[in-house]
C-alpha cells in the first residue's frame, strides 16, 4: 500500500536577494508502507533537505517551491498551522542528526515524554505523572534504555543514549513514517552499530516506513532494502539495496562505491572522484554530473537525463540508462558501448 507519494519536489534556498540555490530538483518519490529506504550522497547533495521537505520541516530561507506530497491520502504540502501539527501524530516524524542537541537542556527526559504525550492527547486522554512515567518507561525499553533515564537531564546522558531517547520520543507519536537524518554520524563506530541495530529491529517490529539519510554507504547497505542516490539535488539512481555493487550503475554511484574498500583485503584500490562539487546556484542545462563523468557525451551537457530502467531499478544516465523520452541518447549510448572504457 502506497504510503507516500511525492511529486516534483523542488526546494529553493534564498540566503539573500538575488541568490537562488536549488537544493532539491524535480524529485518524485513513492514509498510503500513498511519500506526501509536509504538516501545517500555527498554533503550538499540535498538528501537532508529532501528529508526535511517531506516532513514539512523546511525553514526560511529554504522553501518548497513546487510539489505535491501525498501522505496516507492527505496532501500535506498544503497543510499549515494546527492541521500540520496534528499530522505529526500517527503521521510522519524525523529524528535529527545531532542527538546531542535535540533535547531541551533544562527539561528531564520524563518532561520530554510528557510534553509530547500531552501535545497529542485526544479528548479522552488524561496524562497523570504516573501515566507519563509508565508510557515513557515502555518507550525507553523499546530502544533498550532503562527507566532510570527518565529522571535525568540530557547532559547527564551519553551521545548514543541521547540519540536513542530521540528515537523513543518519536515512537511516542506512533508514526507511520520516520526519517532518520544521519542518525549515527556523530557517534563512534561501536555505538553506531548498536544504534543502527536498534533502528532495524524497531522497523521490523513496528512496521513503520523508514527513510535513512546517510553519506555512509556501508550503513545503508546493511539496513535498508532500497537505496536512492542523490547528486546535486536530483535522484540519480534508485535500486534495491542488494543490487548495489552488482551490474552496471550510474557513474556517480560507481564512483561512490569505488571510494570504499575492505580493510582486510590484500590490495586496496581507492579512487577519489575527480573534479569539484557542483555549484547549486548555477544549475547546468544538462546532467549535473557531466563535468566529472568519464562517460559524458554531447547529449549529457544539453539535456537532463530522466530516470529510466537500469537493472532492477532506475537511473538517470543517458549512457547507461537511455530513456525513450530522449531518442538522441540511444545513439550516444550505442557509441559509448562501442568505444568507451567502462570504469569500475
Amino acid at each position: 500500500m502506497t504510503l507516500l507519494h511525492a511529486q516534483r519536489i523542488n526546494v529553493v534556498y534564498e540566503p539573500n536577494r538575488g541568490t537562488r540555490i536549488w537544493s532539491v530538483r524535480d524529485v518524485d518519490l513513492t514509498l510503500q508502507q513498511g519500506e526501509f529506504v536509504g538516501l545517500v550522497g555527498e554533503s550538499g547533495c540535498g538528501k537532508s533537505t529532501l528529508g526535511f521537505a517531506l516532513t514539512r520541516m523546511l525553514r526560511a530561507p529554504a522553501r518548497l517551491e513546487n510539489g505535491a506530497i501525498h501522505f496516507d491520502g492527505v496532501d500535506v504540502a498544503s497543510l499549515s498551522g494546527e492541521a500540520l501539527r496534528r499530522q505529526r501524530r500517527k503521521g510522519f516524524a524525523i529524528v535529527l542528526q545531532s542527538g546531542m542537541n535535540a533535547l531541551n537542556p533544562v527539561r528531564t527526559i520524563e518532561n520530554h515524554f510528557g510534553d509530547i504525550l500531552k501535545a497529542h492527547a485526544g479528548p479522552g486522554d488524561h496524562y497523570s505523572a504516573g501515566a507519563i512515567r509508565r508510557r515513557g518507561a515502555e518507550l525507553l525499553s523499546k530502544v533498550r534504555l532503562e527507566p532510570s533515564v527518565l529522571a535525568k537531564f540530557p547532559h547527564e546522558l551519553s551521545g548514543g543514549m541521547r540519540q536513542r531517547v530521540s528515537i523513543a520520543l518519536v515512537l511516542a507519536l506512533e508514526p507511520k513514517m520516520i526519517v532518520f537524518d544521519e542518525p549515527t554520524t556523530a557517534l563512534d563506530v561501536i555505538v553506531q552499530k548498536a544504534v543502527m541495530q536498534t533502528i532495524q529491529e524497531l522497523q521490523r517490529e513496528q512496521g513503520f516506513t523508514a527513510i535513512l539519510i546517510s553519506h555512509d554507504l556501508g550503513v545503508v547497505f546493511e539496513s535498508t532494502n532500497r537505496v536512492m542516490v542523490m547528486y546535486a539535488g536530483r535522484v540519480v539512481e534508485d535500486q534495491p539495496s542488494n543490487e548495489l555493487g552488482r551490474g552496471l550503475h550510474h557513474p556517480y554511484t560507481e564512483a561512490l562505491l569505488g571510494c570504499y574498500a575492505d580493510p582486510r583485503a590484500e590490495e586496496i584500490h581507492l579512487a577519489g572522484i575527480p573534479g569539484t562539487p557542483p555549484d547549486l546556484s548555477k544549475p547546468l542545462p544538462g546532467c549535473a554530473y557531466a563535468p566529472r563523468c568519464p562517460l559524458a557525451v554531447e547529449i549529457c551537457w544539453k539535456v537532463v537525463p530522466p530516470l529510466a530502467p537500469l537493472g532492477s531499478g532506475t537511473a538517470a544516465c543517458h549512457v547507461r540508462a537511455p530513456s525513450a523520452q530522449v531518442p538522441e541518447a540511444k545513439v550516444a549510448a550505442a557509441k559509448a558501448a562501442a568505444g568507451a572504457v567502462a570504469t569500475k
Binding site: 540566503p15 539573500n16 536577494r17 526560511a60 530561507p61 564512483a255 569505488g258 579512487a271 577519489g272 575527480p274 573534479g275 569539484t276 562539487p277 557542483p278 555549484d279 546556484s281 548555477k282 557531466a290 563535468p291 566529472r292 563523468c293 568519464p294 562517460l295 559524458a296 551537457w301 570504469t343
Partner: protein, 314 residues
C-alpha cells in the same frame, strides 16, 4: 567553487585534473577595500543606514560649526532668559548666550568624547581581551579577575567619584575617566571569542607553521573578530556619549566647555523649565539621544554582519 567551463573527462579515474581556480585572493584584504565592503554591508541594513545618516549629519555639523552657527556660543551679548525669537532661534541662557549656536558647537565635544573615549576603551578592551583569551594560565586568570572586578564595580558612580576627586577639569580628563570605566564589558566578550578561536584549527596550523605570536594574533585571530570589535566600539561610544552628558549635567565636567551636557547643566541650574526656555532642555537632550541612537543603530548592522541569523530579510 563553481565550474564555469566544463572539465574534460579524465582518461583514468583519479588522474590529476586541472581544477579551475579563481584569482588568488589576498588573505587579509587591504584596509580600504575592507572598509569599503564593511560600509556597503552596513548600508544595506535598514537600521544601520539610518544610524549612518544621523551620524554623518552630526559629524558634518561638528566640522562645519563655525560656518553654521549664527553667533559665537560663548558670547554673553544677548538678553538673558529669552524664549526662542528671530535673533536667537532657540532662545538664550541665563547668561545671555545664544542656545542655538551652543547646540551647533556642542556637537563637537559630544562627538569627540564619544568617539575618542569609545576608541580608547575599545583599544584597552581588545588588548586585554586578546592577551587573556590567547594565553591561558596565570596571565588569563589575573586579567580575568581584573576584568571581572572592573565589571562589577558600578561604572557611573565610579566615574562621578573619579571626576569629583580630579581637580583639573578638561575634556581629556573626561575622556580618560569615561574610558577607564567602560572597557570591561568589551574585554570580556573579546576574551571569550579569542579563547574560542585559539583552539580552532586554522590558528593551531598557523602556530605549527612557525608564525610568531604577534602575527598569529593579528593575521589569524583579529580578522575573525572585526565585527565583534566594531560592535564593542559602537557600544562603548554610545556609553561614552551618555556618560559625558551625565558628567556635565551633574556639574562634574568642565563648565567652561560648550557641550550638550553643559547646556542641560545650566538649564537645570537656571530652572529653564520654569522660565519658559523649554528648548534649552528639549534640544540638547534630543541631540544626545539621537547621537546615542545612531551608534546603536549602526551596531545593529554590525551585529547582523557577525550573526547571519539576525540579518534582515530583504
Amino acid at each position: 567553487m563553481s565550474i564555469v567551463t566544463p572539465v574534460p573527462p579524465p582518461t583514468l579515474p583519479g588522474a590529476e585534473v586541472e581544477i579551475p581556480r579563481g584569482p588568488a585572493g589576498p588573505r587579509l584584504p587591504g584596509p580600504l577595500l575592507f572598509l569599503g565592503r564593511a560600509l556597503r554591508t552596513l548600508w544595506s541594513n535598514g537600521k544601520a543606514r539610518i544610524g549612518l545618516v544621523i551620524l554623518a549629519i552630526d559629524v558634518l555639523v561638528a566640522i562645519l560649526a563655525p560656518l553654521l552657527a549664527p553667533h559665537s556660543p560663548t558670547a554673553t551679548s544677548f538678553t538673558p532668559y529669552q524664549s526662542p525669537n528671530a535673533t536667537n532661534w532657540f532662545g538664550t541662557t541665563g547668561n545671555g548666550q545664544d542656545v542655538f549656536s551652543q547646540m551647533i558647537y556642542g556637537a563637537r565635544i559630544s562627538l569627540l568624547v564619544g568617539i575618542v573615549a569609545g576608541a580608547v576603551a575599545t583599544f584597552v578592551a581588545v588588548t586585554i581581551g586578546l592577551i587573556a583569551g590567547y594565553r591561558p594560565g596565570i596571565i588569563d586568570e589575573v586579567l580575568s579577575f581584573i576584568t571581572n572586578l572592573a565589571l562589577v564595580i558600578p561604572g557611573l558612580p565610579l566615574m562621578f567619584i573619579l571626576a569629583a576627586y580630579l581637580t583639573s577639569r578638561s575634556v581629556w580628563t573626561i575622556v580618560l575617566v569615561v574610558a577607564f570605566t567602560s572597557w570591561a564589558t568589551g574585554a570580556r566578550v573579546i576574551r571569550s571569542q579569542a579563547s574560542t578561536l585559539r583552539t580552532r584549527e586554522f590558528v593551531t596550523s598557523a602556530q605549527f607553521s612557525g608564525e610568531r605570536l604577534f602575527r598569529v594574533v593579528f593575521r589569524e585571530i583579529l580578522p575573525n573578530m572585526t565585527s565583534l570589535v566594531a560592535g564593542s566600539f559602537f557600544a562603548a561610544a554610545t556609553a561614552a556619549v551618555m556618560a559625558e552628558a551625565s558628567l556635565e549635567f551633574l556639574g562634574l565636567g568642565d563648565p567652561n566647555t560648550v557641550s550638550w551636557g553643559t547646556i542641560l547643566y545650566y538649564a537645570q541650574q537656571q530652572n529653564a523649565l520654569l522660565t519658559g526656555q523649554w528648548l534649552m532642555v528639549f534640544a540638547p537632550g534630543l541631540a544626545i539621544a539621537l547621537l546615542a541612537l545612531s551608534f546603536t543603530l549602526v551596531n545593529f548592522g554590525v551585529d547582523a554582519l557577525s550573526n547571519p541569523r539576525l540579518r534582515e530579510k530583504s
